[in-house]
Amino acid sequence: MMKEISMRGRGNGLCLAVGLLVATVWPGAALAANVTGTVTFDGKAPALKPLAMDAEPVCHKVHGGKPVANEMLVLGSGNTMAHIMVWVSKGLPAGKTYPAPKTPVTLDQKGCQYIPHVTGIMVGQPYRILNSDGILHNIHTLPKVNPQFNRGQPATVKEMTTTFPKPEAMLQVKCDVHPWMSAYIGVFTHPFFSATSTDGKFTISGLDAGTYEITAWHERLGTQTASVTVGATDVTQNFKFAVK
């Protein structure tokens, strides 16, 4: 911060005042940095049983009558891992609150799969559940601290919305009609989370300078944590999961 001020000249009191004001009111504005990284899988990927959807003719047809790849372990080139949730688990200023966005997080049911398979949401943020399949689905959350949500979604009900009142990482969402359907959702009090896609990359944006604990989670391979110190520039933190 002192370096920045000196660059503007010692006599520029106005700039100093504005800089101090901005730094006080919106400390992350000028100094926000990103934590980025890549998650990879170490070792030979196990052969997972594909999802058999024969029991649901509509979805079976959507997938051309072929078995569907298991969503539990999805790897990209270079063994990058999809479906990893990464979030700031420690280090955020105590007592600071982050308003939940009004824009909903969407979960679609398409081809008897939940899309996305892993996602994050803030406490109180709308969770919009779509039924693109046009068949009966059931959305059953299996939380430990939040109230359970267990509701059928008939073919003609294309959209439902709910919210999560408490933070909880991670909780499973299941369909009791189609037992292979599964998704995971992390509910956070802050916006510092990111889920990977097949390129294995995640980005947590807008963190103030400081030291944080970052957690990476996989539905079967558990969690890993790392400590990162954020300054004025982006920080890279990679994770590597393996079958134990």
Binding site: I135, L136, N138, H140, L142, P147, N150, R151, G152, Q153, P154, A155, T156, V157, E159, M160, T161, K174, D176, P179
Partner: protein, 588 residues
Amino acid sequence: MSSPTGVAPPKPHGAHEAHHEELGFWRKYVFSTDHKVIGIQYAVTGLLFLLFGFSLMMLMRWNLAYPGAALPIIGQLFGEARMPGGTMLPEFYNELGAMHGTIMVFLGVVPLAVGGFGNFVLPLQIGAPDMAFPKINMVSYWCLFLGGITMLGSFLVPGGAAQSGWTSYTPLSVIAGSGQTWWLIGMIFLITSSLLGALNFITTTIQLRAKGLTFMRFPFFVWAQFVTAFLLLLAFPPLEAAGVMQLMDRVAGTNFFMPSGLVVSGQALTNVGGGNTLLWQHLFWFLAHPEVYVLILPGMGIVAEIIANNTRKPLWGYRSMVYSIIFLGFMSFIVWAHHMFMTGMGTAMAAFFQTTTMIISIPSVVILTALVISLWGGSIRFNTPMLFALAFLPMFGIGGLTGLPLGLNISDIPLHDTYYVIAHFHYVVAPGTIFALMAGIYYWFPKATGRRMNETLGKVHFWGSLVCMNVVFMPMFITGLAGVSRRLFDAGSAYDFAQPTMHWNVVSSWGAWLLAVFQLPFIFNFFSSIRNGEKVGENPWQATTIEWSAPSPPPHGNFVGAPQAYRGPYEYSVPGAGKDFVPQYEAS
């Protein structure tokens, strides 16, 4: 009112000073101890709940007829959590289904048949001034009221009312939402109400009979209520205990009904195990099969009274009917497991329960046959109560006969939990019992109000109801025989095998909605006749039983003098008599 000798007639037992005590509004009409007021409270409560339970069913029938379609206007009233955009969610359908059954059985038919008719008619028919325990009688009603409020309140709790069916099978009911807890608390109130009522009925029947009213001079209605009271007294305690046990499983972490190794939605349940989930089914059906007879016996009693009165003949085979109803009551305690053939019961046990089930059909057939034969050679008056009573006979007959395949293991298994079962038991309790109850309302309305209900409106109500009831339930035999499960919120629209039956759901649903339309003349008639009905004297039907000796409506204490029974209950068309009926209460 002095006698010819100048000696005042004896005051009825129990009337005494209470006869002259001026009661305030609350004690006279709300917290009343008068059996007639309590009977009317029960009856009105029962009728309101029948209407409410019927409304739940009409909503269900929308989704069965038009699965997934938005219900215009009304559907918008239930909110996004139950009917988003007017489309019914399966969970709401489950709420409606569980609460329809519970309300119709425990808050509709039983309060009307036992609480209403039993309280109002039974003391009058035996010549008693009131029930043996008037304050217990009042508590009994208010327990029912609290139970009803609890059940209604459960619709407002997060997650809605109970969704585990009216049978509340475990373990589903133990892991269900909080509405189930309310259901159990409500049931405890309702069971307590029935137990208190049963004690009162038995004591009253035995202790407060008029002089000369021997057991074999009882009107058949009294026998029906007497046996019903024993069924309630002996069958409900196991369910009350079971209800408390299920409540403890839900709120106190006990495991009476929770077996080990339960996996729900792919997750193993922790802290459960060691319980026996079939125990709930045994305890439930140990009540619920006698409960079937609690629903039907008062109806048989009403029909017997009305048939005797309107054929102007004694009941044919009165003694056989009495012995049959006692035997039926006894047997009803040892048939319960025919509801459980699907649970993997051993062949020896299945054989036992099949045998008892076949045996219990015999006394039912004896009673029904006696009622049919009673019509033979009678000079039948086709008034509204008689029309309903006559319709009861074939409707109950269809219900009973279609129950036989369900009582046999081999044919029950493919029919279990299909619409065939729904059709069967609704024929017993809807066009069966409810027609009998309607007959009773038209028949004893003049005694309660001093006025007669309108006959034309009554006949419109009857013929409309008769046709619509059959339009509602007959198609269910077809869908049931096609194998469609009774539990499907969309009537099986997702399944190929159910497609050929889907149009029958449209027929049933329109039958149900028209049935509602045909209840409007009854509702109008009921309220209108209280003020504008034809005024009648104490015995407008020229009937023989003791209640018709009391003024209409009867005063507090019921009778002007202490009534006495001089003969049997159905002395109609006695050869040589001056008129075609000789009342039981008149000395020759």
